[in-house]
Subunit: 99 residues, 4 copies
């Protein structure tokens, strides 16, 4: 089962600057061989369900190891059986409708 | 790693009534032996990370089997290393601060 | 336009304990005369769109005033034109399908 | 109060193809003079709180007018008082930490 996912992870209790932790997760996703897209409100990921979710667990583990006592992640998981989907598909279809 | 989680699953392409699918996920979580709390905007779950995420995968699989060609789930995952946490803890601590 | 909403607010940069801030938002919603339900992963609210969103703004303002330099809120907004909806409706319809 | 926001809107009850509705919201945000970034899992928006939230209401109204009887939106709202923020800031700071 393929999944187009997004993760927005917030380490709690490590102050106001979070880019170090977001970068660490980015590396975890890259090391897992997943397609990764960073944007202003989260990280988009595409891959097999088990690979994506395993990487998200590793991401939580690494951010705790870096010193965060508490983590809240908001994750979006999209799956479909009617056709193949990829990270760029929705963007492309919406753009075709814009002037 | 324990997780306090929430899932809000939306089957797409099966019409406007979704309770059948939400109920099926509820059964999946209960059958997995997880603590489950249904509320107006989603389902709260508590358990070990692997058990919770495995049940969420099973939930997507079952909802596809019931006929939904597309699913979008929004999931919140909270982990912490500073103390044990449970589904009722946050509610209890906030209520103590309310009149 | 009625909305059934959920807010999960995370103050960033104020340490690991967040119940003080969640309680403050709860008071803001109650003072606005909205229906409010606290649960393990957020706060459910029902009301008119403008009243609910105005209260969410007030909630951000109050949490900043209490000392949080940064806030991330995840909000779910459900609207429908096919029938009236209330906070308890989905829960009731799902429960009827459970043994 | 400036806000860096994300909206992921799902019309329910209009079938499996959603790009028409996402494009309509994109136009609403552009017409409101907001900075808008479309990505695979949602739309990022930056602007004043009232402008952004007013546009999100208009977006729900337009999607209902286009025929969707039910809408579920997941929205992320980030505000901060410690410094100015923009849509590209987080991405830039995270990228500096990546090889």
């Amino acid at each position: 089962m393929r999944v187009v996912a997004e993760i927005s992870l917030i380490p709690v209790g490590v102050g106001v600057h979070l880019s170090e932790y977001i970068a660490e997760c980015h590396r975890v996703f890259q090391d897992a061989g997943l397609q990764v897209e960073l944007h202003a409100n989260g990280t988009n990921i595409e891959g097999e369900w088990d690979d994506v979710l395993q990487a998200m667990k590793r991401c939580h583990e690494r951010v705790h190891e870096l010193g965060a006592p508490r983590i809240v992640s908001n994750i979006k998981l999209g799956t479909r059986t009617d056709r193949e989907q990829g990270l760029g598909d929705t963007v492309q279809r919406v753009r075709q409708r814009l002037p």
